[in-house]
């Protein structure tokens, strides 16, 4: 009898086993295709990549004019390798007081961030202004402009300016032709001047001597100097050097202690930004006090960590995720590197309500 009871109970267990096995298979099939966490693709611009070297070599040109050697020396038919340079970097001065920054405008415009920013301008007053400028002067800022640089108070532009009507672009300015390759536009009241070199480089600013010096460097008339941004530093979509006092001002209100130490311990900050996908920012602070720099690096790392905690506490998860990638690398020789990443998703969220996007959305919904 007990055996019969056990036998019937056994079949209940078997039925339960089959039901559970099938139920388990169904449950696991619901859970196995977990959406993969979205990877942030940040390329940190730490050094020249192969693409950067390629870009640089395509830009290198011999100087337009090489000084004639004395009669007792053989004339050299080809310029020496050191004379072949990137004209925009060559036009820059050897040192700056505040900052020298180059923005790869064309690369940035065609990057995901650039497309996103461009969306913000479509249909806005600025967009209309650009269209008017193009119609009037022939200059398509979004396509013709290759790089925009600033060295203290002098602005340098490079690009394809063959179709630009300079007289329309510089109204009220008088043109001079100091050399066959250059045209100098000067305002009559002595304000801004602009120099156009071979329809490839424009140097503009209020200090005419700086502009003339840039022309001399481009034409090979001035002695060769190491430009403030070396060619090997021309990587990323934005690069340059900034005086540490300028960087320190960023901390003026929040962390005055950090501001003071940054000013005393470091001389300058080299900046590189990669915007090929998510935005990677690398800042190298250089100084000559190894112990102080290490201490400052620790403080900066702490400040970034505290900022992240504060963002988490305020529910700003996007900002906290952005600071997840922030780090400081001390070198031990008086310099340190700060790395930051700006995920595209974060930028997208910040720009979702910009004027151009709103207009586009309204336009799209009304057309629907």
């Amino acid at each position: 009898m007990g055996g019969a009871n056990r036998g019937s109970r056994a079949w209940v267990w078997l039925a339960a086993a089959i039901a559970l096995l099938l139920g388990g298979a169904w449950l696991m099939s619901r859970g196995e295709h977990m959406p993969a966490p979205k990877e942030v693709e940040v390329t940190m611009p730490r050094t020249m990549s192969a693409a950067d070297w390629r870009r640089l070599s395509q830009r290198k040109r011999p100087p337009a004019f090489v000084a004639v050697p004395p009669a007792n020396e053989d004339p050299s038919p080809e310029p020496a390798p050191s004379q072949v340079s990137d004209p925009l970097l060559l036009a820059m001065p050897g040192a700056v007081k505040s900052a020298a920054i180059v923005v790869e405008a064309n690369a940035l415009r065609h990057s995901p961030v650039g497309e996103m920013l461009l969306d913000c301008f479509v249909g806005t007053a600025q967009d209309n202004e650009l269209s008017r400028l193009r119609g009037k002067t022939g200059l398509n800022v979004l396509e013709d402009l290759d790089r925009v640089a600033v060295a203290d108070e002098t602005y340098l532009l490079s690009g394809r300016f063959a179709d630009t009507n300079w007289a329309e672009l510089f109204p009220g300015m008088q043109a001079q032709t100091p050399s066959p390759n250059t045209r100098l536009w000067k305002s009559q009241e002595g304000g801004t001047s602009a120099l156009v070199w071979k329809n490839q480089i424009v140097v503009a600013g209020r200090n005419e001597s700086e502009i003339t010096a840039a022309a001399d460097r481009l034409e090979g008339r001035a002695p060769a100097i190491q430009p403030v941004i070396a060619e090997k530093e021309s990587y990323g979509e934005v690069y340059g050097v900034v005086n540490s006092a300028i960087v320190a001002r960023l901390f003026e209100s929040e962390r005055p202690d950090l501001e003071a130490r940054l000013k005393t311990i470091t001389d300058q900050v080299k900046l590189h930004v990669d915007a090929s996908h998510d935005v990677g920012i690398v800042a190298d602070a250089n100084g000559n006090d190894p112990a102080g720099a290490l201490d400052l690096a620790k403080t900066m790392g702490g400040a970034l960590a505290l900022g992240r905690v504060a963002a988490q506490a305020k529910g700003k998860d996007d900002l906290a995720a952005f600071l997840d990638h922030a780090n400081v690398r001390p070198s031990g020789s008086g310099s340190f590197r700060v790395e930051l990443a700006l995920p595209l998703d974060y930028l997208q969220a910040q720009l979702k309500d910009c004027p151009g996007r709103k207009t586009n959305r309204t336009g799209a919904s009304s057309s629907r």
């Binding site: 139920g23 196995e32 977990m34 959406p35 966490p37």
Partner: protein, 277 residues
């Protein structure tokens, strides 16, 4: 209550064996080693320096919890894979010894139901696994928390998932012991299910490599029933590493693992009920 007494009895037996003492001592030594040799320099919540055995190691100065993520991830993977494999071989003998001639007759003469015997043995071993993995993960969290000021339970949760994974494997080991009464076959079935479960976690991508038709359908049908061990392992590693995971998917996987373990145990009880001793 009877189930609990059987589980406690099993624990008594386990701690009488030197291997479990060795395992406990190894985990403790690892934790003490970490506590004594690792020096962390934390500035305002950022890990600014690290010394292991007194030797300074260059680190990227970053938020402590971000810096500790790889360590917690590695811990979760160790618990999920090598530690589970070790437990499979270590615990293979428990269920067959329960059914050993002489002992089983004695047990059945007591007022204990057969399903209680199976469940008590099973829960005893799964409890041991939970004890060691939670001890390791919890100890690591406490030590690193005390050194950095950042406490997190994520690695403990990852260790809990490791225990669930072992629970599914061990259910098959108990069933194998009921049908074959051998520690070798119990360990063999456990290892086979473990590796099959690792493959089952990648069944979708593996199925695409199998020629369409009957072979692929057969592969999908068989692996569809198995616990997705590697899928749960990836979840455990992501949780320990501070990544966000879908709670619905994790709940589905966990419920599936528990249902699988329940199904195999029910099968074991079915086999046990049909046996005459």
């Amino acid at each position: 209550m009877t189930v609990l007494s059987i589980a406690v009895d099993l624990w008594r037996q386990a701690f009488a064996r030197k291997w479990f003492v060795v395992l406990g001592a190894a985990v403790t030594l690892f934790l003490v080693g970490i506590a004594l040799t690792l020096r962390l320099d934390v500035v305002d919540g950022a890990l600014a320096g690290l010394r292991l055995f007194g030797r300074p190691t260059t680190v990227r100065i970053t938020a402590v919890d971000v810096a500790l993520r790889p360590i917690f991830k590695a811990g979760a993977i160790i618990i999920f894979y090598p530690f589970t494999l070790f437990l499979i071989t270590l615990c293979a003998e428990f269920a067959p010894s329960l059914l050993a001639p002489g002992r089983i007759e004695h047990m059945l003469s007591l007022p204990v139901r057969r399903w209680e015997l199976v469940l008590g043995t099973y829960l005893g071993v799964v409890g041991l696994s939970a004890l060691f993995s939670l001890y390791g993960a919890g100890g690591l969290c406490l030590i690193l928390g005390a050194k950095t000021g950042v406490f997190t339970l994520r690695p403990v949760f990852a260790a809990f998932l490791g225990t669930i994974s072992f629970a599914a494997v061990y259910s098959a080991m108990v069933a194998a012991a009921v049908f074959a009464r051998s520690a070798t076959s119990s360990a063999g079935v456990g290892l086979a299910l473990y590796f099959a479960g690792v493959l089952a976690g990648y069944r979708t991508s593996l199925a695409s490599m199998i020629s369409p038709g009957l072979p692929r359908h057969a592969f999908e049908a068989v692996t569809g029933l198995l616990p997705r061990i590697s899928a749960l392992g990836n979840v455990a590693s992501e949780i320990a590493g501070g990544q966000a995971v879908s709670a619905t998917h994790v709940a589905g996987l966990l419920a599936g693992f528990l249902a699988f373990a329940g199904a195999v145990l029910a099968g074991a009880v079915w086999g046990f009920e049909r046996k005459d001793f």
